[in-house]
């Protein structure tokens, strides 16, 4: 008989399985968000493929990948968490014998996997659109950089929902932040705003990640910018995850 009267603390494996299944279902049902997260990076690849003068394939695919990660991890994650917090979904989960770390770990894990799936699709489409073939090693490195990027942007998203409580405000601030990050990172990395700004941009989350993706696709380009990029990414993860964990509030009010 599978049914028992639960008295002791439930096994963490069953708890995590239940949460992961539910969170994955929620993500799969949010088709509109999934399509948008995938459609825009692919659109970037299509548009940049037309002119052929917008940059090298490494930079352009890196930009598309970064955009996909940023929109999904920062906007998608923070808005969903803020909305569920405001609706009392977390409050309902917290009255069950579930550790709070498990609730958040499940959400982050599902989001991370979704980001990596988007990255793989963008990589494949990017290589087709730009007539480039990548070795398995390059795919693997891009996967690692995608993972790093996803963690950076999820940390920023976590800090956002830690510092801003209201779901509408999280949405608004998240979108402003999104535009600022994209503009400083992308415009700075192209160099059209000058060398000083390019140097500054290489330290921003988006700029650092574009540099890393570009370098992975063209290993000869690996240099100080990329090393700095890794240092910057780790720094952002530590700072923003710290803020997000320290100031996150579970209750709706």
């Amino acid at each position: 008989m599978t049914e028992t009267i639960a008295r002791a603390v439930p096994p963490i494996g069953l708890t995590l399985r239940s949460l992961l299944r539910a969170d994955a279902t929620v993500l799969l049902r949010s088709r509109q968000a999934a399509i948008l997260n995938l459609a825009v990076p692919i659109l970037i690849l299509i548009v940049t493929n037309r002119g052929g003068k917008l940059g090298n394939p490494g930079f352009l695919i890196g930009m598309a990948l970064t955009y996909g990660l940023l929109s999904s991890a920062l906007i998608g994650y923070s808005i969903t968490v803020a909305r569920d917090r405001e609706a009392g979904v977390f409050q309902r989960l917290r009255v069950t014998p579930t550790p709070t770390w498990a609730i958040m770990a499940s959400r982050l894990a599902v989001q991370l996997v979704a980001n990596l799936v988007v990255s793989v699709i963008v990589m494949i489409v990017g290589s087709i659109m730009h007539n480039t073939t990548f070795s398995f090693g390059v795919y693997l490195l891009m996967f690692v950089v995608s993972l790093l990027g996803a963690v950076v942007f999820l940390s920023i998203g976590q800090a956002l929902v830690g510092l801003v409580k209201n779901a509408t405000a999280v949405n608004a601030v998240g979108r402003v932040l999104f535009i600022l990050l994209i503009l400083t990172g992308v415009l700075g990395s192209t160099g059209i705003l000058g060398d000083d700004f390019k140097s500054f941009a290489s330290w921003t989350p988006v700029g650092a990640l574009i540099n890393l993706f570009s370098a992975v696709l063209n290993t000869s380009a690996w240099g100080a910018d990329q090393t700095n990029g890794i240092i910057a990414c780790i720094g952002y993860i530590v700072i923003f995850a710290g803020i997000g964990i320290r100031w996150f509030r579970w209750d709706p009010q």
Binding site: V9, T25, V89
Partner: protein, 259 residues
Amino acid sequence: MNEAERPTVLEVQDLVVRYGQQTAVDGLSFSISRGEIFGLLGPNGAGKTTTLSVIEGLRKPDSGRVVIDGVETLHAPLAVKAKLGVQLQASSFQSELTIEQIARLYAGLYGLSLPQRQIRERLADVGLQQEITKPFKKLSGGQQQRFSLMVATIHNPSILLLDEPTAGLDPQSRRQLWDRIEGSRKRGGSILLTTHSMEEAQAVCDSVAIIDHGRLQAFGAPKDLVAMHRDDPRVQAVAHGDVTLEDVFIGLTGSAIRD
């Protein structure tokens, strides 16, 4: 087993909860026995929901303690939560999940690996067999309450905490809900509920506590409270005819409207 011999399931001792300078719960103590339906009554802002939040483990008290089935909430919060069934004032579940998926999730969170057949049986028990593919928000008010209660009792808790369970329900849904709560009591569960309906409290609760400004004003069986306060001038001043629990409540907590 008479009432005095029933083991204590929940014990709240000298509970104090403050929000900044304001004291929401001020030295509250009460206990609930196995199989007892206990009503926590009070006007808006009296400290009922705050008290429930502490028992549910959502808030830490500034002082005092809560013991459930012999386990102190602060010492083993997860073990205590496993013994509780909770229906919050405004239950909310993930809007993208169907009620079948929600039931499966919560069964898992309480350590029950229920097969689909059993999940569907539970849903059929509360008359939701036709609604299994619907999200929670698409259910009617009565269906939402039945579903929330089903989720709260999916693991046969020692004690069920219900925050205004019948608010907004029509008489039929209210009656059905009480039948289910009574069923839970018959299976040995205890129930702690808050309600603004004094008729309901008088009809279904074995004992009630009237609290105001976070302090206990009166405690006992509804009929005993009525008998005890029948001649209280504050109660006499608000009574129309036979003294009821509502007269006692208004007499002790005042007629001023609370927000």
